[in-house]
């Protein structure tokens, strides 16, 4: 196919796609050149000039005013706990629904699917009220519990259909050897489904990391805020100047781009898994 010649139209297509890609990347370029620009240069020459020095004061100001290290740690703790717990919960559910074939599983799967689509707006006030009642308001634990359930709704739906096609002979063989149900789950089902579980872990981690609405409502004190909430509330207070903004954004972009690079292969595979569910 490649030998068929490139032709004018192929070059036009390439040019158009490169132009679109560059257009999409422009905002990132703006962030990069302004995050390290000396303040005097910004006020004199505006956002377009290339930085003539390397000044990290914008980044440092933001780091210190928001206690950004703390926000990173909170995000990591919350997302890390949620992804592990939600995958565990999904496995237990999918084992009962996909392999156990419990009666009424179509209804149960439907319920998980609906739970997956329910907008958080319709749950937020009662959750806020209940969390205050039981003393979980403004704790990271409250957000961990809620997102474990929300992510597990998707995980159960996806994993049940995957485990529905699990090779029965393997289960029979293990049963013959006298393995109990719990043993079969941990020793056979989990190891064999590891690729799918890995994809779910990565998805849950990134989704939870990027969540904004519920963490904004639940994590009000600075010491509990996640990265998006810390940035969002700062934006709401209108106290940022352009240099701290681009410094802040650069700091916030770095972890997600790092995840993206680390997990890129899993993700591309995973997005496909999600698409054919």
């Amino acid at each position: 196919m490649r030998g068929r010649g490139r032709g004018l139209s192929a070059y036009v297509t390439l040019l158009a796609l490169v132009a679109i890609s560059l257009l999409i990347l422009i905002p990132f370029a703006f962030v990069l050149i302004n995050a390290v620009k000396p303040a005097a240069q910004y006020s004199a020459h505006g956002p377009l000039s290339l930085p003539d020095g390397f000044d990290t004061s914008g980044i440092r100001t933001f780091w210190n005013t928001t206690d950004f290290g703390r926000a990173l740690w909170n995000s990591a703790v919350i997302s890390g706990s949620v992804c592990v717990l939600a995958v565990l919960l999904s496995i237990l559910n999918a084992y009962a629904l996909g392999i156990g074939r419990i009666r009424g599983r179509t209804w149960l799967l439907g319920a998980f699917l609906i739970a997956n689509f329910l907008p958080q707006e319709g749950l937020v006030y009662p959750l806020y009220y209940l969390a205050k009642r039981v003393g979980l308001y403004d704790t990271r634990l409250s957000v961990v519990i809620i997102f474990t359930v929300i992510q597990a709704a998707f995980g159960t739906y996806l994993l049940s259909s995957v485990l529905g096609t699990f090779p029965r002979e393997l289960l029979e063989a293990a049963r013959m050897d006298g393995a109990g149900r719990f043993r079969i789950l941990w020793r056979i089902v989990v190891p064999i489904s590891r690729p799918t579980l890995g994809v779910l872990l990565v998805f849950f981690f990134i989704w939870t990391w990027n969540e904004f609405f519920l963490p904004l409502v639940f994590l009000v004190s600075n010491s509990n805020q996640t990265v998006p909430v810390a940035l969002g509330t700062l934006q709401g207070q209108h106290i940022m100047n352009p240099l701290t903004t681009s410094g802040a954004v650069l700091l916030a972009i770095v972890p997600t781009v790092v995840f993206f690079l680390i997990f890129q292969r899993t993700l591309t595979r995973g997005i496909t898994v999600g698409a054919v569910k």
Binding site: T13, A96, E121, Y125, L127, T268
Partner: protein, 315 residues
């Protein structure tokens, strides 16, 4: 004939009995989820619906109000505006990215990967996908800063290019605010359909498209008549997930415009949040949230129903 059918029914019955017995021991595995889902999803959902029939500030006793909140919604011009804005955001975040994404994915897959190598195609795909890895708030802050009328980069760029007359407070002018938000959403969302459709195209048998090419079908005809029907499952998934996401565009509105100027970019999601936590009008906020929930469930049901019908037709 009758004996066979009774025998069949018997066997079926026995099978069902056996399955019932075998599936019973799996019930404990569902127990943690049943408890958690009851507390985190089912109970709050019911409480929200109940609250929507009350007048309540969040503290003190509720006052039963019947359908008063819903009647108020029907005559609330801000609510109707927010519904229309949501429709605009669906166009920007679901419809446009799906159409543009389809064309881009097909171009990357058919032209770039084949003529210039898969490396070039995957680099371009990564560039288009990059906005998707950002937390929405971060992306919104970037744009809020770029579009700032005083020190933002866009107006500086326009002036530098001699197009100063186009410089404008894009988010601050009620006439352009919604369109600007829509453009930003297209920028953000485009990568998702491109990645999914490119994966879908790999799954599709190229023989059909090649046969159509030999028969003289143009590239556009092949795309709409041959490729689209083949990757329909992925198109449904993309449209559904993007539509649901756009109906909930809370973080965008919170960080970009706070629903303003005036109510120019108000959406139900943000409106309910303001009713809950700023106006302390919890009953009204619950009514808005309930309507939003209904809309999303209906949209999801329609999509899943259509998908199932198409699948049945394909089988």
């Amino acid at each position: 004939m009758t004996s066979t059918s009774t025998a069949l029914a018997d066997a079926k019955d026995r099978g069902r009995q056996a399955r019932k017995h075998r599936s019973l021991p799996y019930l404990p595995y569902l127990l943690p989820s049943v408890v958690l889902f009851a507390c985190v999803i089912a109970l709050p959902f019911c409480m929200n619906v109940f609250t929507s029939f009350n007048d309540w500030s969040g503290v003190g006793p509720m006052k039963w109000a019947g359908l008063a909140n819903y009647r108020r919604l029907m005559h609330d011009s801000e609510f109707w505006a927010s519904i229309w804005h949501s429709a605009a955001l669906v166009a920007a975040m679901a419809v446009l990215p799906t159409i543009i994404g389809l064309v881009l994915a097909a171009a990357l897959f058919d032209v770039i990967a084949k003529r210039f190598g898969p490396r070039v195609a995957s680099i371009l795909r990564a560039c288009i996908y990059l906005p998707q890895v950002l937390p929405i708030v971060v992306a919104a802050i970037v744009w809020g800063w770029i579009l700032d009328p005083q020190y933002g980069a866009l107006n500086a760029l326009l002036r530098a290019a001699g197009l100063g007359f186009l410089a404008h407070d894009f988010l601050g002018d009620p006439k352009t605010a919604l369109l600007t938000v829509m453009a930003i959403l297209v920028w953000f969302q485009l990568g998702y359909p491109v990645v999914i459709f490119m994966a879908a195209l790999q799954r599709v048998d190229p023989a059909l498209a090649e046969a159509a090419e030999i028969d003289g079908a143009s590239w556009r005809q092949r795309l709409w008549r041959v490729t689209v029907p083949q990757i329909r499952p992925e198109i449904y998934v993309v449209l559904l997930t993007c539509t649901v996401a756009s109906l909930r565009a809370f973080a965008w509105i919170y960080a970009l415009t706070s629903g303003g100027p005036g109510t120019a970019t108000q959406v139900p999601s943000y409106y309910s949040y303001i009713s809950f936590f700023t106006n302390l009008d919890v009953g009204y906020g619950s009514a808005i949230a309930t309507v939003l929930t209904l809309i999303i469930i209906v949209v999801a049901a329609v999509f899943l129903g259509a998908q199932r019908r198409h699948q049945a037709m394909a089988d």
